[in-house]
Symmetry: C2
Subunit: 684 residues, 2 copies
Amino acid sequence: MIQKYRYGHPFETEAVIMPVKDTLGTPDFLTVSNKDTLIFSYEMDKADIVYGLGEANRGINKRGFCYKSFCTDQTTHSEEKQSLYGAHNFLLIKGKRSFGLFVDYPGLVTFDIGYTRLNLLTIEVPDANLNLYIITGPSLLSITEQFRTLIGRSYIPPYFAFGFGQSRWGYQNATDVTAVANGYQSHDLPLDMIYLDIDYMDHYKDFTVNTERFPDFPHFTKTMKERGIRLIPIIDAGVKIEDGYSIYEEGKEHGYFCKKEDGDFFTAGVWPGRTHFPDVLNKEAREWFGSKYEFLISQGIDGFWNDMNEPAMFYSDEGIADLLQSVFSIDLASCHADDMLALRDKINSLSNRLNDYKLFYHNVNGTPVRHDTVHNLYGYNMTRAASEGFEKIAPNKRFLLFSRSSYIGMHRYGGIWTGDNSSWWSHLLLNIKMMPSLNMCGFLYSGADLGGFACDTTKDLLLRFLAFGIFTPLMRNHSAIGTRNQECYQFENCEDFKGILRLRYRLIPYLYSEFVKAALHNRMLFMPLGFLYEDDTTASHIEDQLLFADGLMLAPVYEPNAIGRHVYLPEDMLYLKFTSEDTYEAVPLKKGHHYIEVSLTEVPIFLRKNHFLLLANAADCTANLDNTTFTLIGEKASSGTLTLYRDNGFEKDYDNPSHYTTIQITNGVITTSDPSLHLTAELY
Amino acid sequence: MIQKYRYGHPFETEAVIMPVKDTLGTPDFLTVSNKDTLIFSYEMDKADIVYGLGEANRGINKRGFCYKSFCTDQTTHSEEKQSLYGAHNFLLIKGKRSFGLFVDYPGLVTFDIGYTRLNLLTIEVPDANLNLYIITGPSLLSITEQFRTLIGRSYIPPYFAFGFGQSRWGYQNATDVTAVANGYQSHDLPLDMIYLDIDYMDHYKDFTVNTERFPDFPHFTKTMKERGIRLIPIIDAGVKIEDGYSIYEEGKEHGYFCKKEDGDFFTAGVWPGRTHFPDVLNKEAREWFGSKYEFLISQGIDGFWNDMNEPAMFYSDEGIADLLQSVFSIDLASCHADDMLALRDKINSLSNRLNDYKLFYHNVNGTPVRHDTVHNLYGYNMTRAASEGFEKIAPNKRFLLFSRSSYIGMHRYGGIWTGDNSSWWSHLLLNIKMMPSLNMCGFLYSGADLGGFACDTTKDLLLRFLAFGIFTPLMRNHSAIGTRNQECYQFENCEDFKGILRLRYRLIPYLYSEFVKAALHNRMLFMPLGFLYEDDTTASHIEDQLLFADGLMLAPVYEPNAIGRHVYLPEDMLYLKFTSEDTYEAVPLKKGHHYIEVSLTEVPIFLRKNHFLLLANAADCTANLDNTTFTLIGEKASSGTLTLYRDNGFEKDYDNPSHYTTIQITNGVITTSDPSLHLTAELY
């Protein structure tokens, strides 16, 4: 059951698409105090588990920390960081009372989940205008499904988006990009996408291509596509201020940029230097910005990633003025340490200042709305702009689209990547922990920068990252300029990567099928163990194993120099130890605690009873995957139905019943609704 | 066997105290290349484990990363950091060939341990003047013991230093300090020390006390000592430039500060503003600086911590000049992002610049030695200055002394704390991993800032930190100004801390005894499991369990919201689950993998067969510990000898045979060499 409590006059975020009638008052188990801010309090039981918050730091269980929903360009995801790029205000409490809670509010929300007091949850909102949804149901899965129904169907990308992508900030030109394609293909390492970071543009101007670096871009995209590789360019939020640059001129002419109180456009420094922000909360401006993607689509581009859309800013004109004042006020002759430290703090706080977010306004249906009060909607609406633009440009075609910043609601328009992580082993674990939280909030097409974005990676870290990453829908290796080259072929004995990457391709039809079904039916792809084994206390506290769809359990190795790991089985399972893409050992394991050895090139997969794993033959790109010939792996004693979803992968007729094929396995006998399937069973 | 290979003309670091004859050539299993730099290479076996490096980042097994021995004021110990505060150039390789390796070189040394290539170890030294020691022996323990013999007996602190200490940067005055004493004692939480950070000084001037904040310091120290609490003040490296300040005037007059090439004193900005660095590599200057501790000792002080002695600097005069040039060269009208980012980088790199370390010189027996070439000896010799000063001030008295920066050799003069960690769960794990590495390098009196120095802690993190910290010789809760109050009594239900803190006091006689024996006999206090169970591959790869002395195994919980953890037993053990300081369950567990539940207030201890745990009665401070009445815990079937070391705790006659008491347990019958002991056995 979903109950909606309205406080004051909420801003319409369009996060929710299902109409729900207002319930008067406040849920009786919450305490509300309403002085300067609105604070909801809930006394947790010691044993309660708190799930949720989507793209947030820390664990699957969010207890023991204070989180701030305020989309932030967070360059270092260290443990104390309270905000990342997204604002996903959904909590799911399991315990003496189990319920879901969604705070639909577009500004800062603070979640103190046992930080101040171990057993106290408080949610603080700076003003009293918001919608609060409380969801109850017979199980955690039911509550999640209801919430997902409330917020609407998740974005479904094209089939190729399930291939492996290589990215790096620093590919300067067609030669660099070609070298990446060659590096992968010459080593028999599959690849579907190469991402173009900011360097492909002309002076970081949106919707331009640097023609010195890419002399014939349409021809280049075509050539790459013939090799099975799509180019996926980045689009940033800020539009460069430059006379004669058409996007700038048009935006200026029509007033499509965010304005200050005095009516002037607000200026922020980002990659191109001084820029204006398109007012994506203004319907007309959003339509205009979305239409601009056509420039690249017409040159053969099938996907984009939207970046810097918190919106990030390095500085504002106002911030620079403040800074200079500080510099000039220092008396260097008697220079005290505190002065220098204050100056350093000042310059380090120049970026993404809250004060700057208070300086500009959106035009929402003719009403000026100060940015900070709706801050969390910016990335959402930039991505919506793109999606709505695609809809007009090619109505029945699916585009790859994901964003850095997001709010719940954006999950209908695109995916997200989890931003600028580091080549840290702890960030591989963070990647694992974040996936189910994202799924709860509707973000199914998602993944981390495998290998780590910032800092220098190592081969073993990249191998372990990939061994988990082959299960994330968005599977991308991405790194920052100035760090160690991170493409798989850059490492000695790069054939060590082959088994893992090619196993991804064997998994794609299964991943795709499970993904689309999860999207269409508002289900989870990655689940905490506690979602399925609610009464199993041990399972419920496990933070480093996940369920994948209905049938699999994952237990990745995420520690340096480990030769294996402990794993807990909440029920008997078949342990599949993949030593390469097409060799594996199948070992039945009993419910309970186990230690498994996992070498750097191996992938452990656990298969639940009465479930089956479906594998295709490996291929070098998604286009070459055979979608009719599969291997089915399971236990002889298992019986069950595997529903396989297949479509052409680029059109939008998702609900066509012909896309479903059932495969029924009973006592080792396989029957299927599609007689043209070639199925080989490997039963143990 | 120890072999010494001399290259060129090494600087005498005095790390080694045992004479070893030179061996000609180079060890045959190392490749040496000698072009611009000296590089030793070793091809590791895939299964080799590399221990060592003392205070270094990452794991017990150091493989998979590149470390730089260059003492650094590292404010954030994130995973990519290559240098921390100490330089401990000892490696211990276990595998196809097991050996110890010590690079005795006082400047930058780079250890690439499988970073560039998974199986390649390289050690790079910028010039060809160094001593290389290779140590072989029948076991890892034998190699370590030989190395420790080579470098000399570890520092032994007074008995009170094994008590619990509370610290915080931000205790402003006697009132604040008194509140800490009251906070602990009124809640029946034991305490032996309160640390004074920089705020006790007059304008951060070494060897001064701010008399406004502490109107009668000698009386105050006396009053606190009567309550069982000692005050432990900080001493920083930089001496404030201030006319009339006696330390500055004396140092200037005698030329005891580090000088630039032109003969002027080098100036660096630190807490007091502009300072000079005492030239602690100059024997006379060291003697002078060491004598200054008398100022505080005469006021009742029994211990010190030496800080900022990498030496840390916020800026140099030269650095400020560079910075201003950059600021003035920016054209703000057309300000480009790159300019702002460059400026930010510039100001952020103002601190601890390598270039600044090249600007000043030490006077070593009349010869000027450029600082960067002997950089890693600074903290070492500052601490040596203090220790040698104490020796003159009170020859037979032990002082508490530890340092932030260090080099091997300093372990004879003082301990170290592991610097400015953060309130991160991963730093609790780092604390665990670092302890055995420190012990290998001679640093026995050591510990981390429990609860975390930077960032806001939480009650659960502090509880888990303390549950491990009760085993570290230096047990201190320390936090930074501006962070959440971190004293145990600041949290709701602070009686939750009582059991853990009081268990520490029950353990002290045993910890002290094991500590002193380890120091006197060059043994390890904390050991990786692989040191004792060399043939057990699983044990050898465990990074989150430690052996403590001969008899105990520790398996701390270090993850948020965990209700327990997996633990591996390399042999049958008795699991002691302490639910408070004097209640525990004793459960015999078999060799193998287990899962144990551990609540936030519990401490798990594993006892080996034929070993016994000795516990005193709890007390509120070390002075009130009864050193004759003990409980012995063990298994009925166990037989063995526990050698108990006891002395008066403040004098230096360590080797007096009367300090040893043997307790023999055979078939449940206890005999002891000291009939006045009161022993109660609890055998299972």
